[in-house]
């Protein structure tokens, strides 16, 4: 009888251990978050074509995103795989998601100290070369690192993804779009062997970098061109202002959802004069309507 009770106790303990093992790590994380500056973030997005897209974690169509937390930094990033590779039988989403996943691994490994986003992108890009499986394609990328000790954000941007930082309804900092020419953004790429001369490829050093001191309550939007090409900045700022100082992940998620929905709807609105159409007109191309694309919205508020 004694042994049954004993076994039963051990058993329940073991089961409990098994379940709690997962929860403790996340609980730990949230405990430490309360003390130090960090980003409260939410993600929403849509693949351009629901019928073809396979749902994978951290991916919306050819877009990919990540969030990673280490002792000294809080990092978010998005990447947009260049769709043209599909004609060569290459899945453009694989490149961008590898890039983002590797960034995440690099941050989580904790072996990089005070990492700068440009270095992170360069290291991540370099890992593509170190993989036995050649992962071909190209991608734009934008990474934001919050240094949790100095409350500075460091950014690196290659191509036409980007970020906006809003404080009390004002845009205080935003990324510059990097394009070779209209609709051809800067991109990190790994072309198929023998084609290297024919493909646009920018080195990770070409990334546009900046640093900016953030304050408590600042709202950061990190998104791919599917958002910026379709939603006018003023609309984005209006939405983001609602989140000034917000720490509740649910509310942030709500706004992220609405921005993503807005982008999605405007992208398929053929009469809407989207930022993309305006830019096309500047380049002498008569265009109207949105630009259907994969959409990724990463919305975060700074909590200090």
């Amino acid at each position: 009888m004694h042994s049954i009770v004993y076994t039963g106790r051990l058993l329940s303990r073991a089961i409990w251990n098994g379940i709690t093992n997962y929860t403790t790590t996340s609980a730990e994380a949230s405990v430490s978050r309360k003390r130090e500056p960090h980003l409260v973030h939410a993600v929403c997005g849509f693949p351009k074509d629901f019928t073809q897209a396979i749902l994978k974690k951290g991916q919306f169509g050819d877009d990919a995103w990540f969030h990673a937390l280490s002792k000294t930094t809080d990092v978010i990033g998005v990447a947009d795989g260049v769709g043209g590779w599909r004609n060569y039988g290459i899945d453009p989403g694989e490149f961008s998601s590898f890039l983002m996943k590797t960034c995440e691994r690099l941050v989580c490994s904790g072996r990089l100290k005070n990492v700068l986003p440009a270095t992170l992108l360069a290291r991540s890009y370099y890992e593509l070369l170190e993989s036995k499986q050649p992962i071909l394609g190209s991608s734009t990328a934008c990474v934001i690192v919050l240094n949790r000790e100095t409350c500075q954000v460091y950014t690196a941007n290659i191509g036409d993804s980007g970020f906006v930082i809003v404080r009390h309804g004002e845009v205080v900092h935003r990324s510059e779009e990097q394009q070779h020419y209209f609709n051809t953004p800067f991109q990190l790429s790994l072309p198929p062997p023998g084609r290297s001369g024919l493909v646009l490829s920018d080195s990770p050093d070409a990334a546009d970098t900046s640093s900016f001191p953030v304050e408590d309550g600042d709202v950061i939007l990190l998104a791919t061109d599917g958002v910026f090409d379709n939603v006018p900045q003023q609309l984005l700022v209006t939405e983001m202002t609602k989140l000034q100082g917000e720490k509740d992940p649910c509310k942030i998620q709500g706004v992220a959802n609405s921005i993503a929905w807005m982008a999605r709807n405007l992208a398929f609105d053929s009469t809407f004069m989207s930022p993309f159409a305006e830019s096309a007109r500047h380049n002498g191309i008569e265009a109207v309507g949105g630009k259907p694309d994969d959409i990724t919205v990463l919305l975060a508020t700074v909590a200090i």
């Binding site: 042994s3 004993y6 076994t7 051990l10 058993l11 303990r13 073991a14 089961i15 409990w16 251990n17 098994g18 709690t20 093992n21 403790t24 790590t25 730990e28 590797t102 691994r105 690099l106 989580c108 490994s109 072996r111 370099y126 890992e127 070369l129 170190e130 993989s131 036995k132 499986q133 050649p134 062997p193 023998g194 290297s196």
Partner: protein, 651 residues
């Protein structure tokens, strides 16, 4: 990642309360080799830290820890090395190790190893105490298993101390391809668990494993857990009362026996059976009453033999047995300690008990020693550089071969002393000794007779290396794999081609600064039989430089060109015509077509290994048909796939 909640609730009313703590690796302390490079995170040892990232997927993933070699291919290549005192190695030989740290020290109860590609290479698990004592937790022969990812949980011995540092040893010599590990989980208790509950604990652990993973993929792990319980019942351990000592583990057995037995006198009849006996019989090794010590009076039939014959017989014994023999009587002591038996000495297998004391015991026998292997020995300050230099000063004058792979006592000081103590050195291997700087390497220029140098994963730089090469005209084998600090490999290779015409093998694995200029120069080393240019990323477009190797090195047996993405058929063409002796070819990740591989298989009669993994143009069907057509050739094609569970090269 310590299970905090489990801790809160610990130490309560009952003594029998057992709380298990599960933790994954928090850091990597040391390792002997890795596939990836130190400036990358793909295929590196550090991937073993943290929770599993790929399990239960099965395949060749950059997120795993992969070792540098597999199978016997490296041993059988022209650069392959003979072991010193191979009889020392015993039946379970390991080629690689990794030391992992956990956050909290526990009494180990279970070690779960997540193997995600070619499982079965783990052969030993060691635990280190805070005091620096190593204890063997488990030992078993390498397994051949189904190509499926699995959690391997070997049955552990009970040890009497908590540990947070484990060493895993691997034997991958029988594997079809690289083994890959995802994570290591240590399950243990804060206090020694009562033995009478062992049986219960194991059934319980069974439940933990099942609950945690829930999938069918870990059935191998479950089977093993069941095995533990059976084994424990077989051994009757679960019925022992806590007062009785659990049979001593092999390590304590060795620890006591190896240095101490020298002084003990033991009966020959008892010594012989104990050679094959389990550690459980360690009682037979305890000090015996002194035997009569008359000269060769009780050497039995051996006294009829001339000493030379006995010496010859003894030369087949390993170090352990020689120590035992020296305790038979004075006659045998004299014979078993005869310096002629110690012309070469391999201590790698005994890394866990080599310390200044045991070295001193050996010293009187090492009068004529020429070849010494101290790889893996003396880490964690078990031997300090001064102690090593003292030891070498006493016995090193005639050394021709010295292997010091993964020896933390090797620094500038010890290298300088090596160079002055051992002027006759022909072979020096310094793998993984990152402490040595330019100063130390420069001192090696004093050794004119060097024939083999192994600098794998050291921080050797260009200047001292060039100086060493110029000073060693007889150099035959050079390993510069993963040397990340060489600013211009081209210059090194140019020096090689000028000053070292006898070069037989050259390993430039992951030499990022090598370009086609250097490769061009290699053609001048006409005796070259082996060249490894794997992962030389600046060489991704080799142009015509490979031609110079093909035309200049007709004796080539092994060429590795892994991850040369732009390698196409016409780069390989000259090798077919000019290198008839080719045995091993690696074109992983290149753009070659099935056509050239077919011709390679047809024309190269000596071919035994072809690696065409991740070549886009080569499908599995091609490989299968080649395997049928050329059964004597090992055709490797690795893969990354969740759905596919077929093994490499298993038809």
């Amino acid at each position: 990642m310590v299970d905090v909640l489990a801790l809160i609730d610990t130490i309560t009313k009952e003594d029998n309360e057992v709380v298990f703590i599960e933790q994954f690796v928090s850091d990597i302390r040391d390792f002997s080799s890795q596939y990836g490079s130190d400036i990358s995170i793909s295929y590196t040892a550090y991937n073993l830290a943290g929770k599993p990232s790929k399990y239960p997927d099965y395949g060749d993933y950059p997120q795993a820890f992969v070792m540098r070699t597999y199978g016997r291919w490296w041993k059988e290549a022209p650069s392959g090395r003979r072991e010193f005192m191979p009889q020392n190695l015993g039946s379970i030989v390991s080629q690689d190790f990794i030391d992992v740290i956990f956050e909290q020290a526990v009494y180990p109860f279970q070690v779960n190893v997540y193997e995600i590609y070619n499982p079965g290479a783990l052969v030993r698990v060691w635990a280190r105490s805070v005091q620096g004592k190593w204890a063997l937790l488990w030992e078993g022969a390498a397994q051949t298993t189904r190509p499926m990812s699995r959690i391997f949980s070997p049955p552990l011995r009970t040890i009497q101390f908590p540990t947070n540092l484990l060493r895993l040893e691997f034997d991958h010599s029988n594997l079809e391809y690289y083994t890959e590990l995802d994570a290591v989980c240590l399950v243990g208790t804060c206090k020694p668990f009562p033995e009478n509950s062992l049986g219960t604990c194991h059934t319980l652990q069974n439940n933990v494993v099942r609950r945690r993973n829930g999938s069918s993929a870990n059935c191998v792990g479950l089977v093993n857990v069941g095995d533990i319980t059976n084994r424990i019942q077989e051994l009757n351990i679960h019925q022992l009362s806590p007062q009785v000592d659990i049979p001593t583990s092999i390590s304590t057995f060795l620890d006591h026996e190896f240095p101490n037995l020298l002084k003990q006198i033991e009966d020959m009849q008892k010594a012989n059976p104990s050679r094959t006996a389990l550690p459980a019989s360690s009682s037979s090794l305890s000090p015996q009453p002194d035997q009569p010590t008359s000269q060769s009076a009780n050497s039995g039939a051996f006294s009829c033999l001339p000493d030379e014959s006995i010496l010859h017989i003894l030369s087949y014994l390993d170090l352990k047995d020689l120590c035992r023999c020296s305790q038979v009587n004075r006659h045998f002591r004299g014979l078993a300690q005869d310096p002629h038996l110690y012309i070469e000495l391999g201590l790698r297998q005994f890394w866990h008990c080599v310390n200044p004391k045991s070295l001193n015991c050996l010293l009187p026998r090492l009068l004529y020693i020429q070849r010494l292997d101290m790889s893996w020995c003396g880490n964690y300050r078990d031997i300090c550089p001064e102690e090593f230099v003292d030891f070498l000063g006493c016995c090193g004058r005639n050394l021709t071969h010295l292997r010091l792979n993964s020896c933390q006592f090797v620094n500038d000081f010890s290298l300088e002393r090596i160079a002055s103590i051992c002027p006759k050195l022909q072979e020096l291997t310094l793998q993984n000794n990152t402490k040595v700087t330019s100063r130390g390497f420069f001192s090696l220029t004093a050794l004119p007779g060097l024939e083999r140098l192994d600098f794998y994963r050291t921080s050797v730089t260009k200047e001292p290396l060039v100086a060493i090469l110029k000073a060693s005209p007889q150099l035959k084998h050079l390993n510069l794999g993963s040397c990340m600090h060489i600013s211009s490999m081209d210059e090194v290779v140019l020096t090689l081609s000028k000053y070292n015409p006898d070069l037989v093998s050259l390993d430039l694995w992951k030499s990022y600064t090598l370009t086609s200029v250097g490769v061009n120069a290699l053609g001048k080393c006409s005796k070259l039989e082996e060249v490894d240019l794997g992962w030389c990323l600046s060489l991704s477009t080799p142009g015509l430089s490979l031609n110079s190797i093909a035309y200049g090195c007709p004796r080539l047996k092994k060429i590795f060109l892994a991850s040369m993405r732009c390698l196409v058929d016409y780069h390989l063409e000259p090798f077919l015509k000019n290198c008839p002796l080719l045995e091993q070819v690696d074109v992983l990740g290149s753009s070659v077509t099935p056509e050239i591989v077919s011709r390679l298989l047809r024309d190269s009669r000596h071919l035994r290994l072809v690696d065409v993994s991740f070549c886009d143009n080569i499908s599995e069907t091609h490989c299968d048909s080649w395997r049928r057509q050329y059964p004597g050739v090992n055709i490797k094609q690795s893969y990354q796939s969740e759905a596919k569970y077929r093994g490499v090269n298993q038809c």
